[in-house]
């Protein structure tokens, strides 16, 4: 506003050829124009920025950081849930293993009891049979010894009589008995 004296406008700062006289920056005739339009531009820019642009960009940035924070929180939560689920799964697996081991042990014990009973029965049977067998063998052995003795005495008598000897039965029996003992 300071310096617009319109009478000397053209010519004071520009020569006849249209070139600048001195520095155009220092030409006082033009300063009012520059200042006026600068003020207009600054006011327009300020209004554009403060009314529209800055609140909008600020809101977008805030919304974005909010969204990011929420997403991170949600991700944390989901991760926590996954960890919990994994722990629960591991726990279930461990329980199942323990239960299975218990069932196996129980079954083993039952089987062992049955087995022991059967084994005992079988042992008893086997020993009874063995005793019977032993008895039979003993009887047979005794029977055989008697028979052999009788056969030997008879044979000896027959041999003696056949050889023309005469011997009484007592002597022969005693001799045979002595031999058989030897």
């Amino acid at each position: 506003m300071a310096t617009q004296t319109t009478e000397i406008a053209v010519g004071a700062c520009v020569d006849a050829g249209g070139s600048a006289l001195g520095m155009p920056q220092l030409c006082a005739d033009w300063m009012g124009n520059q200042v006026a339009w600068l003020v207009v531009s600054l006011i327009v820019i300020y209004l554009i920025l403060s009314r529209i642009a800055l609140p909008r960009i600020g809101a977008v940035l805030a919304e974005r950081s909010g969204t990011i924070t929420n997403d991170i929180a949600a991700a944390e939560e989901l991760k926590q849930k996954a960890v919990e689920a994994e722990a629960a799964y591991e726990q279930a697996l461990a329980d199942a293993r323990i239960q299975a081991a218990a069932i196996v042990a129980e079954a083993k014990a039952e089987i062992q009891v049955d087995l022991d009973v059967e084994l005992a029965k079988a042992d008893a049977k086997i020993s009874a049979r063995a005793a019977e067998g032993e008895k039979a063998i003993t009887a047979i052995r005794e029977g055989a010894v008697k028979s052999v003795t009788a056969v030997a005495k008879d044979t000896a008598k027959e041999l003696v009589s056949a050889l023309g000897g005469s011997a009484d039965a007592k002597t022969i029996t005693a001799a045979v008995s002595a031999r058989m003992k030897g």
Partner: protein, 252 residues
């Protein structure tokens, strides 16, 4: 015809590196009064339009997963928001829209000025002076409103030796009042110098003999200017934050 003799004689080269900064009315040839639509109006308007496209049209989807344009807007938003928060503290955040306005205006004006045939609004000292003194005046008033006369404690070093305190106070006051000048001249000077140097190289490019070198020079300076455009917007903004911090927390 540009012959070799022309190239050697200095008279053949006519540079007007500052003509690009001439303010012209958009319609007709009349005098430039304060309300005349000029090339400044056009390029500031384009900056406003670009800001509108990036920040309003780009973010119209309000997408959680941003589009490219929305990402750019969010990136600039986050960058400046963090800067304000880091430099001025939590209580400076309510001034964020003002600082954002300054930053995007300077950034977009600087980058639009790098288009060929464009006009560099931020190279005009009157423009940057309004920005720099505007910041200075606002921050000073804010300091007095928030802290009253305690704001003057900014100039009075309590931890300095008593004898030195008046001397330091004088230096501090001078440096405080130099702030808006350096703040505005830094921006205008950087942008103007870069654009003028590009124009000088472009003038040499018209001469066949040196044109390869001149064009290489234009490319190199242009690359530098791309950096300067961003860095100056950043520097202006972070210094604004620092001055604001002084107003909010004047105790050292």
């Amino acid at each position: 015809m540009a012959t070799e003799t022309d190239a050697h004689s200095e008279g053949g080269l006519v540079f007007h590196p500052l003509d690009q900064f001439i303010v012209k009315p958009l319609f007709g040839d009349g005098p430039v009064s304060w309300y005349t639509p000029t090339n400044i109006t056009l390029w500031m308007g384009l900056a406003v339009l670009a800001i509108f496209l990036v920040f309003v049209v780009g973010s119209r989807g309000r997408a959680i997963i941003p589009t490219r344009m929305q990402s750019i807007g969010e990136l600039i938003y986050g960058f400046i928001y963090k800067m304000v928060e880091d430099v001025t503290g939590k209580d400076g955040v309510k001034y964020f829209p003002y600082i954002m306005t300054l930053f995007v205006f300077i950034l977009f004006a600087n980058y639009l000025a790098l288009l060929p045939m464009s006009y560099s609004a931020t190279s005009m000292i009157a423009v940057t002076a309004v920005l720099g003194f505007g910041v200075f005046i606002c921050v000073t008033i804010l300091g007095f409103v928030l802290h009253g006369t305690k704001f003057l404690g900014l100039f009075w070093m309590k931890d300095a030796p008593a004898i030195l305190r008046p001397v330091i106070a004088i230096i501090e006051v001078i440096s405080y009042f130099v702030r808006p000048v350096s703040h505005s001249i830094r921006l205008a000077g950087n942008i103007m110098a870069g654009h003028a140097v590009i124009k000088v190289f472009a003038g040499f490019a018209a001469k066949t003999l040196v044109s390869p070198v001149a064009i290489m020079g234009i490319v190199a300076i242009y690359g530098l200017e791309v950096l300067v455009a961003g860095i100056q917007a950043y520097v202006f903004t972070i210094l604004t934050c620092v001055y604001l911090k002084d107003a909010l927390h004047p105790a050292h």
